[in-house]
Symmetry: C2
Subunit: 430 residues, 2 copies
């Protein structure tokens, strides 16, 4: 079950981490610098919080003692000043008081983006050959993390309401029968406006998934849920759903990951995790070895932005800006594919992505004709959908693509979709 790399000079981990889709994608971006990218998951340049950061930094460096504190080492778990603010922010998102969150501050850990938290959680729970259950499609960078530690990702049937709890339960029963229950350590869900599908997990399913995880959990072999709420604050319309984490009244089963790269600024590189108590020490131990703490200065910066009340208004602006961009992309798709009802996409209520399904005969992969045509002739790039499925997942659809409306401005989005449609139609009519 553990991948057997060919003999090589470096560690097994080094070999498992090779040939990630993301590397190839970035390579494509470098080699095709003249393309209009609907692939990159960067954020909107114009809505970055220059004003908010300038204000906070001015105030930070105006206070000599606070500045010295921010420039000194922090702790592995992160600055208390920010943890206090993030707790308030989480309470706001959960529509409850900070006390009602029912967590100790020690259960909150600050990381270098939420990516580091995802990576630490995987590292603490999964040995080579262990299993993480994921939606299909799901966030392909996390699939890279899993394969990078030699773990197995198993795809669970997913529809327009997210990961299917019945299918999850069935998969666990099947794994149990196969004697593999003890290898299943984690269920990974991107609960809101999933990257790449744009789908949100329906509220009843959130509750069911927690119940299923608890049902299959054993004291010696706990089963955790990792909820990646990266896009939670980027809600443009539709329901304001409680987190999966909120349904875990025990606070023992769900790990909640949040990032401030999308809602604030990726360059500040702050992520956060809310951990079950049993995971606090193991995660801090690993982070201690990895870097013994993310940048303290940045944590003080975000704490000041939040305590000044500048964070929430900024998120509102960001949301408005992305909502318009989403609408622009949806309108462009409507226009471009009006004569092609077999090209379909989901209307996301938030996040940064539109997931497009083409007719089955069109292969969107790197080596397929569409990707070549799109990048080389029409100068536009997308993320091939197949990257977002675990490898060896059986029949992976090869006719899907992820489009991001985060980076380009309205004109870029419209033009990008026009170019993409030209490439798709050329393929369709070929």
């Amino acid at each position: 079950m553990i991948p057997h790399p060919s003999p090589a000079q470096f560690s097994l981990r080094s070999q498992w981490a090779k040939d990630q889709a993301i590397s190839f994608l970035m390579q494509q971006a470098v080699e095709n610098r003249d393309v209009l990218s609907l692939a990159a998951g960067l954020v909107d340049e114009k809505s970055l919080p220059v004003f908010e950061c300038r204000t906070a930094l001015t105030s930070l460096f105006h206070d000599d003692s606070l500045a010295r504190q921010a420039l000194q080492y922090g702790t592995t778990a992160g600055a208390d000043a920010l943890r206090v603010q993030l707790r308030l922010n989480l309470a706001r998102l959960e529509h409850c008081s900070a006390d009602e969150l029912n967590i100790d501050q020690s259960q909150m850990i600050l990381t270098t983006g939420s990516q580091q938290l995802l990576s630490l959680v995987a590292d603490v729970l999964l040995d080579p050959g262990d299993i993480c259950l994921v939606a299909a499609p799901t966030y392909f960078v996390f699939l890279g993390v899993l394969s990078g530690i030699g773990a197995r990702a198993i795809a669970i049937e997913t529809d327009e309401h997210g990961l299917n709890p019945q299918a999850l339960d069935t998969a666990l029963a099947r794994l149990d029968q196969a004697g593999e229950r003890s290898r299943v350590k984690l269920i990974y869900v991107v609960s809101d406006y999933e990257n790449p599908s744009g789908v949100s997990l329906a509220t009843p399913r959130r509750c069911e998934i927690v119940a299923i995880a608890r049902k299959w959990s054993r004291p010696a072999h706990p089963l955790f849920v990792l909820e990646d709420a990266a896009y939670r604050e980027l809600r443009y319309d539709g329901a304001d759903r409680p987190s999966v984490w909120s349904f875990d009244e025990s606070r023992e089963t769900v790990i909640l990951a949040q990032t401030f790269s999308k809602s604030f600024a990726p360059g500040v590189r702050i992520g956060m995790g809310i951990l079950p108590k049993s995971l606090v020490e193991p995660i801090c131990n690993l982070k201690g070895n990895d870097d013994f703490g993310s940048a303290n200065l940045n944590q003080h910066l975000l704490a000041l932005v939040m305590s000044a009340g500048d964070y929430e208004p900024h998120v509102c602006e960001v949301r408005d800006s992305y909502r318009r961009k989403r609408d622009t992309m949806l309108a462009a798709l409507d226009l471009a594919f009006s004569g092609f009802p077999e090209v379909r996409w989901l209307r996301p209520e938030g996040g940064l992505y539109v997931w497009v399904a083409l007719p089955k005969q069109i292969d969107t992969g790197f080596s397929g004709p569409l990707f070549q045509l799109a990048t080389k002739k029409h100068h536009v790039m997308y993320v091939p959908g197949e990257l977002c499925y675990p490898s060896g997942a059986g029949s992976v659809p090869t006719n899907q693509m992820r489009l991001c409306f985060g980076v380009q401005d309205a004109a870029g989005i419209t033009e990008g979709v026009r170019r993409l449609a030209a490439a798709v139609i050329e393929c369709l009519l070929a």
Copy 2:
């Protein structure tokens, strides 16, 4: 050879990372908040670059386009703006031109402190059971990294000129005979003013260690040297030595790690590695999974400080401040132990530490009488020397201690040493 943890709920890595000395030490610091700490390896609060950072950040946020660039995602390897400056800084340290460094910019990677680089290098090279050769004593946090991935640290005889090349060669020959040469992946050296011993590796030994590594290296089983130059810029007197890395003309054997936590500010959390070409892709792949890039904002900040010419003068100030503190500690030790010639220490020419050897009968360990007496009665704390030796290293001296003159001011250092001497003398006379 691989540690066999008791059955547990989490991954092997999670178990290997448990019970690190640093955790216990930090716990002691928390439990003994009223002690005067000569243990913590933090930096001098007064010499933190508040002015330099304020100036650079003002200029960064004055330029809207640059500010947006700094707040956006960076790359996994780090911001080019800073890599250009660090290359110039390295050339200055090596007394050559940037071209004469004979490296591509792609061989430089920016990390979250140099700790992340040390951790990535260990992860790329060492599988569980693999071997890293280290000086004895050496940096105990790196020993934690090694045990955290299940690797074996083997101590090499070390004297007041650093790691002994003859002993290194003998150890490699012995391992070769035992059929273990292929498990030896790395030699770790803190070349300047080693943490904890204060010892610098003599220049001829630097050259010899590179030659020995190359002699024992095989194409299928390369042997690398990881040079941790954390304290290089904190030179107070004595020789200005070329790096170990500079003797590796092939640029294929030595990995050079540098941190800007000591010379600039830990809260900015920037480290750097110069990698052999063969390691660039593997290290970037792992870092891609871990966090896909350290904080971009911080890299732009340090780049601006450096390009404004504010870095070098700051390092001079820091150096002057620490030189005075070192002298204060040495004078305090002279005074406190004037009647006890059996208490000995090395005079470091740089860095942050003085390494003290007590008479053999005094056990400096956490559970020994001195540590208890020092923390509980005399309210002073040090780092027990035995933490700085690999476990299972055979006869580990238990009568040594590491004192740090980084954090306390002159009065604190003098008082700390006075208290420590009172505790030691109480033990000696008991």
